[in-house]
């Protein structure tokens, strides 16, 4: 199978990110398990920064995809030409994330009260 050199570079970069992220995750998990409780690992400011960066990355990806999916020239025309395809799915994604957060908050007392089994 012939792969375009540009696609190969992107694929290589993605693989590097994936493997590095896996290492990062393992390191974090090990640190939390052996040294600190998860709740103390990040301050509330750090959590806000992480959530903010992820939110901006998601919005950026959605807008880039909206431009790539539209025949319109430019960001704003791309948004206005397909407002339904952006607004309704965004609403559903937002509802999903909010539901997850509400459920987690609702049951978080039980989670924090969980005794570690090893």
């Amino acid at each position: 199978m012939a792969i375009d050199p540009a696609a190969g570079k992107i694929l290589g970069m993605l693989m590097a990110y994936a493997v590095s992220s896996l290492g990062l995750l393992l390191a974090y998990y090990n640190y939390r398990k052996r040294i600190l409780k998860a709740e103390r690992t990040f301050s509330s400011v750090a959590v806000a920064v992480i959530v903010g960066v992820i939110t901006i990355a998601v919005i950026g990806t959605v807008l880039t995809a909206a431009v790539a999916s539209s025949d319109a020239d430019g960001l704003w025309p791309a948004i206005t030409s397909n407002i339904v395809g952006l607004a309704l799915p965004a609403f559903i994604v937002l509802v999903s994330v909010l539901l997850t957060w509400v459920l987690f908050r609702h049951f978080s007392r039980r989670i924090s009260g969980t005794k570690r089994s090893g």
């Binding site: 559903i92 994604v93 999903s96 039980r110 089994s117």
Partner: protein, 538 residues
């Protein structure tokens, strides 16, 4: 097997972004509860029996909204018009069950329906029944996984032209991530999120399709113009009764109505009972269990109605489809052919939500029977909680692998396994009622009804018609004929064998408080001072 023709669906980058975002949200929603799932066997399979009613209620709805459900409902409504709504109406059994069998089962504290056999019956018969049901349920959950995954494979082939195995394996594996990690905690939380997503998407796509077809008034007038106005009448039957399997008789309607009402009194009358049993036991109180089963069934019936109207819209747009493989994809076509860019992605994400919510339940439920009833009860009764959670995870993985093998061969075996699901229920339908309401109905009678039903259903539905000894019968007659033939086995068995141990029955009665014909057991319990004459526990 007749294949649906592939359609050309254009997925833009925006559509894929929505799909990836929602899949990520769904997996995250299950995985974040892993610390609760690993605490004990009860947590891994019943979320510690502490859930408020709205969580299992949403799970009942989400579980029974599978990838093949819109195909099935589309097929019946397109073929039969609004009278086809009576086929999925059997869900109404939950309305009765919420006040009868749900309460009795929740009070028993059995983790599974197989375990309940040990509480209701005594001696060797009870043990044999528990083993039988545990084995049967482990296999049936694997089969349902395969069946639903095969439907997903069909949809992916239909949309993208992918090889069948990708659709069968890929999305089910995604689901396995949070089921393996968090067990029933992951299942129930993700079901809540997926149930909301799927209900929003189903409503959105159906309303869109109805509006494209000219709105409700446009659909009604168009049906009148093409001489198909009868399709709007759910009571348009082809006579009171008859023998033509291709007609819809009043006798079919009455049979379906009896099944959907009286069925709620019994336990195990429908294959749906088994996932419901798990949700009943996961609710924190008897009242929560009742509310959850009632509400879950109610939302499912609302969903059926929304779909039915959307399929009528599809019919007026494409009235001349003759192949079932073509018209059963009607609801998917409404979405994929008429939604704008971006919405296509969210529609596909909704289909994935529908798929995951069913798969997750059956992965966990099959593992429950394999772990609780086969491993814990028969192989290692002294196993620690950590060991049981580990075995639960291994069984989940085995079910997943088994379902892949079965799902990839599903094309050729679907017809006889669907037969196994539905018609084999006919013979055990009345015994499943009797075991709840009649103290004298014993384990040997119930076991014999299961075994006799296997033989009878093969004979009546397949073997005798194939040999020309019996004609192919309509559904309603098959049902009642099987019910009558199997009763010729279990009724004599019941009266020729001893009743269950009186001591055991009294203990069960005091704990579960069943309704019906329990007079002698109730008197015995009162005589021993275990119950007051007003019915309270002393």
């Amino acid at each position: 097997m007749d294949q649906a023709p592939a359609i050309s669906v254009v997925f833009t980058p925006l559509d894929w972004v929505w799909v990836v975002l929602l899949i990520t949200a769904m997996i995250a929603c299950g995985v974040i509860f892993y610390r609760l799932g690993k605490r004990s066997e009860s947590d891994f399979f019943l979320a510690g029996r502490g859930l408020p009613w709205w969580l299992p209620a949403t799970s009942v709805y989400a579980t029974h909204t599978a990838t093949d459900t819109p195909m099935w409902i589309c097929g019946t409504i397109y073929k039969w018009g609004m009278r086809g709504i009576w086929f999925p109406f059997f869900t109404a059994w939950t309305a009765i069950s919420a006040f009868v069998s749900t309460r009795i089962f929740r009070r028993s504290l059995a983790m599974s329906q197989a375990e309940w056999q040990n509480l209701r019956y005594s001696g060797l018969g009870a043990e044999l029944l528990r083993g039988w049901l545990a084995g049967w349920q482990t296999f049936m959950n694997m089969f349902v996984l395969a069946w639903v995954s095969a439907a997903m494979g069909k949809i992916c082939t239909y949309l993208f032209g992918w090889p069948n195995w990708i659709g069968v394996v890929a999305f089910t594996s995604i689901c396995a991530v949070y089921v393996l990690v968090a067990g029933y905690w992951g299942v129930i939380m993700a079901d809540f999120q997926q149930g909301v997503i799927s209900f929003l998407v189903i409503t959105l796509v159906s309303v869109w399709g109805i509006s494209v077809a000219g709105g409700p008034s446009g659909i009604v007038s168009r049906l009148g113009e093409i001489g198909e106005g009868w399709r709007l009448n759910p009571f348009h039957f082809d006579g009171f009764w008859g023998l033509d399997p291709n007609l819809f008789y009043t006798a079919d309607f009455i049979t379906l109505l009896i099944m959907s009402t009286l069925g709620g009194i019994g336990m195990g009358n429908f294959i749906d009972w088994y996932p419901e049993a798990q949700r009943i036991q996961s609710a924190r109180t008897v009242r929560d269990a009742s509310y959850s089963i009632w509400a879950g069934g109610f939302v499912t019936l609302i969903r059926n109605s929304v779909w039915a109207v959307a399929i009528l819209a599809f019919f007026v747009m494409y009235p001349a489809l003759e192949s079932e493989a073509q018209y059963e994809m009607g609801w998917f076509r409404l979405g994929f052919e008429h939604l704008p860019a971006g919405m296509i992605g969210i529609f596909f994400a909704g289909i994935i939500a529908i798929h995951l919510s069913t798969i997750s339940t059956h992965l966990n439920l099959g593992a429950l029977y394999a772990t609780r009833d086969l491993y814990h009860h028969y192989i290692n009764p002294e196993a620690s909680e950590a060991k049981l959670v580990k075995v639960g995870r291994i069984n989940t993985l085995l079910l997943l692998l088994g379902s892949f093998l079965l799902g990839l061969t599903m094309q050729s075996i679907t017809s006889w396994l669907i037969f196994a699901l539905w018609l084999q229920a006919a013979g055990i339908w009345i015994p499943s009622l009797l075991q709840v309401i009649w103290w004298r109905f014993n384990s040997w009678a119930y076991l014999s009804s299961w075994i006799a039903n296997l033989v009878m259903s093969w004979l009546v539905v397949w073997v005798l018609p194939a040999l020309g000894i019996l004609p192919e019968l309509p559904n309603w007659l098959n049902f009642w004929l099987l019910a009558a033939l199997v009763s010729l086995v279990y009724l004599p068995v019941c009266f020729l064998t001893k009743a269950d141990d009186r001591e055991h029955l009294v203990r069960y009665y005091v704990q579960a408080r069943p309704l019906g014909f329990w007079g002698p057991i109730r008197s015995e319990a009162e005589k021993r001072g275990l119950l007051t004459t007003q019915g309270g526990v002393s």
